[in-house]
């Protein structure tokens, strides 16, 4: 048996192409540069969205509308929701990690359409700036991120139109990205690499991209009609002109429900990559993971009306959507049980990446359970449009996806930068995030159950104490960002060099230098047919039985 030894680091040093820093500010075609551009841009908007969230929580410290005017409050919450979803979560889990990792995973030197890729990224900063600037020119949109007509038709038009333009741009960017991912995963796989040998993240992104291609255009259509209502005076969604406001809701949620899986499926994929490596075990149930992704994609397309249980939809529709929605717990559950089984009996490295993943499991299961409760019409009728819903989705989008984004940053930072992040600061970050997050959003369930509607700047004084607790949690969350930022900047400058493969992982991105050269590998792309080849078989190993799982022991 021969063992191929890849070119060693020495000759890497000589030829290593360092991407010049200007490249990160320009129209680069390199998928790794674009990935990092997405990540940094997204994180910038996360800070903006987080600052807006901070304003919301400050306003809610007292029951009166005293920190900002009522109009401003509505603008702030609209911007917060829109920025967090369209400029932070979606671009980062898809654009950033997708671009960085997928070519490595399929064994390609770049994405299928590098130019389209760059265009897709460069649609984001203008869209974001447009959105933020709308606040300064005549006020931002103030009808919530859902922009339900007729409210969105009657609120000041300039802000709403800019909001529509910006979301259309972001949606377009997301569609271009998805086209690229589908082509790369299906068509650019290295010869000899089968679909069922791909790392789980590729499947997650494939599923996500299918959702993007099928659902996002419908949102675009709805927004085009909405803008005609605002600008041209048509009456598609305006009952005063004979239109139908609920049709907008159907079109909107036909996109925006799948959008929640667009926000979470790639995160699931990232968890599937991170856990096996830090648990030193193969991913449990590879096939069932794939089928559950496909199941979620399919079901995700047919459950949208669970956001409209009180909108006067016909009874049969509510029944159908209740059942379909709750069924999603089954494929999702498969994934969580598989992850638990992956952890079980592993050799868990209790580092920031793994801890953030475990935090994610707790938070997401929590949010999923409240989701299944919301899917039951009689219960949803009570808590729809209350803080119970706000708590549900923050448990998922923040406690779920954002936790995974942080886990992924701790995991891939060594690859991106060539340096390790500081573990002490990382674990502090994890602890503060987990505490702050739960203090902030756990009490909101009670608020919703007991009568506090969402999207209000003033509320019943009986809820003051609980709101203040929640605001304290938000403060802890804001503070938790500090150790992270310090960690990133300090490690970039002085962090411990990571080496090519600090986690002793098997997938393609680790089988090259850190950071990788422009075309990913100086040598030919390695063909990784068993991406989760960790774990030792029973008893002692034969010396000849060299598998990827031996990398760990062989490395030292």
């Amino acid at each position: 048996m021969t063992v191929h030894v890849l070119p060693t680091s020495e000759n890497h040093q000589e030829v290593r192409h360092h991407t010049p820093w200007q490249e990160y500010f320009g129209f680069s075609l390199d998928h790794k540069v674009i990935g990092i551009q997405y990540l940094v841009t997204g994180f910038f908007f996360y800070l903006v969205g987080g600052a807006l969230a901070g304003m919301i929580r400050v306003e809610l410290i007292t029951p009166m509308s005293d920190f900002m005017t009522r109009d401003t409050y509505n603008q702030v919450l609209t911007m917060h929701g829109t920025i967090m979803i369209f400029l932070w979560i979606v671009p980062v889990v898809n654009g950033a990690f997708g671009n960085y990792l997928v070519p490595f995973y399929v064994g390609a030197r770049d994405m299928a359409f590098p130019r389209l890729n760059a265009v897709a990224f460069w649609m984001i900063p203008p869209a974001g700036l447009l959105l933020v600037s709308s606040y300064f020119i005549g006020g931002a949109a103030q009808s919530g991120w859902t922009a339900y007509p007729p409210l969105s038709i009657t609120t000041p038009a300039v802000g709403q139109i800019i909001w529509i333009l910006s979301v259309l741009l972001l949606g377009g960017s997301s569609i271009f990205g998805a086209v690229n991912f589908i082509a790369t995963i299906l068509k650019l796989r290295q010869p000899g690499l089968g679909l069922f040998q791909l790392p789980m993240f590729c499947w997650a992104l494939l599923g996500t991209s299918i959702l993007v291609v099928l659902a996002t255009p419908v949102l675009a259509g709805a927004l085009i009609l909405l803008s005609m209502d605002i600008v041209a005076g048509t009456g598609f969604f305006n009952p005063a002109l004979g239109g139908n406001a609920v049709v907008y809701q159907h079109l909107f949620w036909f996109y925006s429900h799948p959008a929640v899986y667009i926000m979470v499926l790639p995160a699931f994929g990232l968890v599937s990559e991170i856990l096996p490596i830090h648990a030193r075990k193969p991913l449990f149930g590879y096939r069932s993971m794939i089928y559950s992704i496909l199941g979620i994609v399919f079901l995700g397309l047919i459950v949208w009306a669970h956001h409209m249980f009180t909108s006067g939809t016909p009874p049969w529709m509510r029944l159908f959507f209740t059942i379909a929605t709750a069924i999603i717990a089954v494929p999702t559950g498969i994934k969580f049980f598989n992850w638990l089984a992956t952890l079980w009996q592993g050799k868990l490295a209790l580092n920031s990446a793994l801890l953030f993943c475990c935090g994610f499991i707790f938070n997401f299961v929590f949010g999923g359970i409240t989701g299944v409760a919301l899917a039951q019409v009689p219960f949803d009728v009570h808590v729809h449009d209350t803080y119970f819903v706000v708590a549900h989705f923050h448990y998922i989008v923040f406690g779920g996806t954002v936790f995974v984004i942080f886990a992924a940053i701790y995991h891939w930072f060594p690859k991106l930068s060539g340096r390790l992040l500081n573990e002490h600061l990382g674990r502090l970050h994890c602890l503060l995030s987990f505490l702050g997050f739960n203090i902030c959003f756990f009490p909101q369930h009670w608020l919703g159950l007991n009568g506090m509607p969402r999207r209000v700047a003033e509320y019943d004084p009986q809820f003051q104490l609980i709101n203040q607790i929640s605001s304290v949690g938000a403060l802890v969350l804001a503070i938790s960002t500090l150790p992270f930022l310090i960690n990133v900047f300090w490690s970039l400058w002085k962090g411990q060099p990571a080496g090519d493969n600090p986690w002793k992982a098997c997938t393609g991105e680790w089988l090259t230098s850190s950071p990788p050269p422009v075309e990913n590998w100086l040598h030919e792309a390695p063909l990784v047919t068993e991406p989760y080849d960790y774990g030792s078989t029973e008893g002692t190993m034969a010396v000849t039985a060299m598998g990827g799982r031996d990398l760990w022991s062989a490395g030292d």
């Binding site: 509308s65 005017t69 009522r70 409050y73 919530g144 339900y148 007729p150 409210l151 009657t154 009952p239 005063a240 004979g242 406001a245 609920v246 648990a279 030193r280 075990k281 449990f284 149930g285 590879y286 069932s288 009180t310 006067g312 016909p314 009874p315 509510r318 029944l319 709750a326 069924i327 717990a329 089954v330 559950g333 598989n338 952890l343 079980w344 009996q345 592993g346 050799k347 868990l348 209790l350 475990c358 499991i361 707790f362 299944v372 019409v377 009689p378 219960f379 009570h382 449009d385 209350t386 369930h445 159950l449 007991n450 009568g451 509607p453 999207r455 989760y532 030792s536 760990w552 022991s553």
Partner: protein, 283 residues
Amino acid sequence: MPIPASILTLAAGILLALISLWVGQTINVMPVAAADDANTVDALFKVLFSIGVGLLLGMTAMVVVALIHFRRRPGDHLDGPAVEGNLPLEIFWTAVPAIVILIVGVYSYDIYARMGGMADFNHHTTMSPSEVEQISLGNPPDPETVIWGGIDHSKGMAFPVEVTAMQFAFIFHYPQQNFTTAELHLPEGQPVELRLKSNDVIHAFWVPEFRLKQDVIPGQPTLLSFTANRQGSYDIICAELCGPYHGAMRSKVVVEDPQNFEEWLRRHTPATVATAPRSFQAG
């Protein structure tokens, strides 16, 4: 001799089930129930709460045990066992949630049907939209004659109140007595039927103590019927973002015993109605 793992697991499972049942049944996080259906909704919520607590505790316990028990000891450079799957196990944890979900789904459907959520609104309309169109030859069909949905199990036998939502208030009209108030009064123990309509944007009528919420959508008159069963005064809250003063769009519903309610109605009924000629009423 150590206790076999299977027995430990069984004991942990039973304990978990007991804890979650206890939590679900005894911890009350809902406001008081003041309508007939509120109790049924709460019963459903208790079931969901128990399942949720059990599931979350169980999953969390597994994660915590894994983190402690399977943490990597210093100096250990070996991998874990190369287990790639276990089909029976996977089938098991696919089937159990599926069964739980189906049972819960059927149960909540049953509750919803009892509340009147599956009602057929045709008897309110007598005509379908297309028929309305045909019959009203010469006159534009009146979309107001179509009831678009809501919750109803009173079969038209209930006491009617017309509710109009507008930026930023609810207005209540008692059609039989023909007067309008800003505060809703309802008789205890008698089915009522709210006919909701909106003048401008979407609002939502919500009384947490009734566990009932219904969007009020312009152009789509909707019905909400229920029976209040506990005297007192409760908040009516607008739950759908409707503009800057959305948070201030609140009102009160007062549930009184039937005698007081009759008395209240009489006090407010304009004297003119009783004596005025029909033509005056119609005009």
